[in-house]
Amino acid sequence: MNAQLKQAPLAAHLALPGALQIQGLSKQYRIEGQPLQVLQNINLNVNPGEFVSIIGASGCGKSTLLRLIVGLDNDYNGDILLDGQRITDTSLERGIVFQDHRLFPWMTVEKNITLALKNQAQSNTEKQQRVAEHIALVGLTGFEQAYPHQLSGGMAQRAAIARALITQPKILLLDEPLGALDALTRVHLQGELQRIWVQQRSTMIMVTHDVEEALYLGDRVIVLDSYPGRIKHEIRVDLPHPRDRAAPELKRLKDELLGELTGH
């Protein structure tokens, strides 16, 4: 762990991680005139630099929750505060990685990542350097000039992670970022995510439906119940990062969590 911390090249210009407070959050959709309660009375505090996993069956509103936090949807009741500021719109303080990588197919990997710096007051040389650093961080050096369709799913998702991180968000939201990948790539990228988070120490919230993934990465795992989405359970994972997948504590927590999710 120390070796990995020492090589952290980005520490010099890291933004301070943010604290997220969600208070009495509710969200309704209207479907054919009928109100549908998606989230009900969500209360959640995320400490600066914490990694929180959110897990739940489909329909529990976990993706909706991330869309609200990132600011793509501001039609909600209650409060979402980042460092005390109410969230009303998108901001570079909050980054997101979607399940589908959403790289622009008409841009190379490098251009896609550089676009995130479009409105930052920096010289082009500085920007180039930062882009190169982040491409290296996600292990894509050598693929700068590749177009998204030339990348594998895992590589595209790495590029998307770099694009989300390069603006140094106070908080990074991960919406099932590894959900569409094959099992081997997923395990590999979980390790990578852990390494990146240890290096960056920004606040991260990851939505997933993979119990092992939630426990392996999270300091805390929040279990959401469905229809309407509400917090059902919370598990604290008191293991230092980076973690060993085979740790008996993880096994025990996994059984506890599975029991909670399946209701046994």
């Binding site: 793509l72 570079l92 622009f104 008409w106 479009k118 177009y147 030339q150």
Partner: protein, 256 residues
């Protein structure tokens, strides 16, 4: 490249060569046939004659210049109107009904009206070509810009792009494939209507005029040379633009 693939590359020529042979054979079946289908060597002689006195080059260039000007104008106006209609609901409601009714009028139907307003000179011809290129350009630009994936717009919002940046880096590139398709159609229509307008408004140089004069002088071989020339030029322009758009759109995974 081996022998067989080289032969395969030439298979597009099989049908044209067969047609020429058939034409030639029929033209030798007596005087009536020879009147209807001029012998191939007479056509060849006419081609050499037209090239020799520079008539073919001058008129071809005039037609091409008309096409290019009209095409450029049509694309320019077409993209503007298409973008406006796609991005502004107000513009769509204002322009949409008018545009969609006007475009039902066939190009030939406009010629008398335009001729009465603008005479039978260059202005009228270019206006007709512009109009022909304008329609497909509006339709395809509109389609391209209204079909931009919402997921990409969201990325633009998350990255805090300004409206102009969102247009330049997200909407426009996403619409380019559809717009390229529009240009391909506009190109074909522009070329066809350029020659067509020359047939109807017979003043000044142009392949259409050469054909009208040849008809008056009963020189079928010249008409045939012009027809071949028009077909070949259209084909070449199409080929050239397809190549160009394939290069511009190389980011797409589709091979074609």
């Amino acid at each position: 490249m081996n022998y067989i693939t080289r032969l395969k590359a030439l298979r597009g020529l099989v049908l044209p060569v067969l047609l020429v042979l058939l034409w030639d054979a029929l033209s030798r079946q007596g005087a009536t046939w020879a009147y209807a289908l001029v012998p191939v060597n007479t056509i060849g002689a006419a081609f050499v004659e037209l090239l020799g006195n520079g008539e073919l080059q001058t008129n071809l260039l005039a037609s091409l210049a008309r096409t290019t000007t009209g095409l450029a104008l049509g694309i320019g106006f077409g993209v503007t109107v298409g973008v406006l209609m796609a991005l502004s609901k107000v513009a769509d409601r204002l322009i949409g009904p008018l545009f969609h009714s006007i475009r039902q009028v066939p190009m030939l139907g406009w010629i008398p009206l335009i001729a009465m307003w603008f005479g039978n000179g260059e202005v009228s011809k270019i206006l007709i070509v512009t109009l022909a290129a304008f329609y497909p350009m509006v339709l395809n630009t509109y389609e391209g810009f209204s079909g931009v994936d919402k997921r990409y717009r969201e990325v633009g919002r998350v990255l805090e792009l300004s409206r102009v940046q969102q247009f330049v880096y997200v909407l426009l590139p996403a619409a380019v494939p559809s717009m390229a398709n529009g240009v391909l159609h506009a190109l074909a229509f522009a070329w066809v209507t350029a020659v067509g307008s020359e047939l109807f408004l017979s003043s000044g140089p142009g392949l259409g005029n050469v054909m009208m004069n040849a008809e008056a002088g009963a020189r079928m071989e010249i008409i045939v040379v012009c027809v071949l020339c028009i077909g070949l030029c259209g084909y070449l322009m199409n080929l050239l633009f397809s190549r160009l758009s394939r290069y511009v759109l190389r980011w797409r995974s589709i091979r074609g």
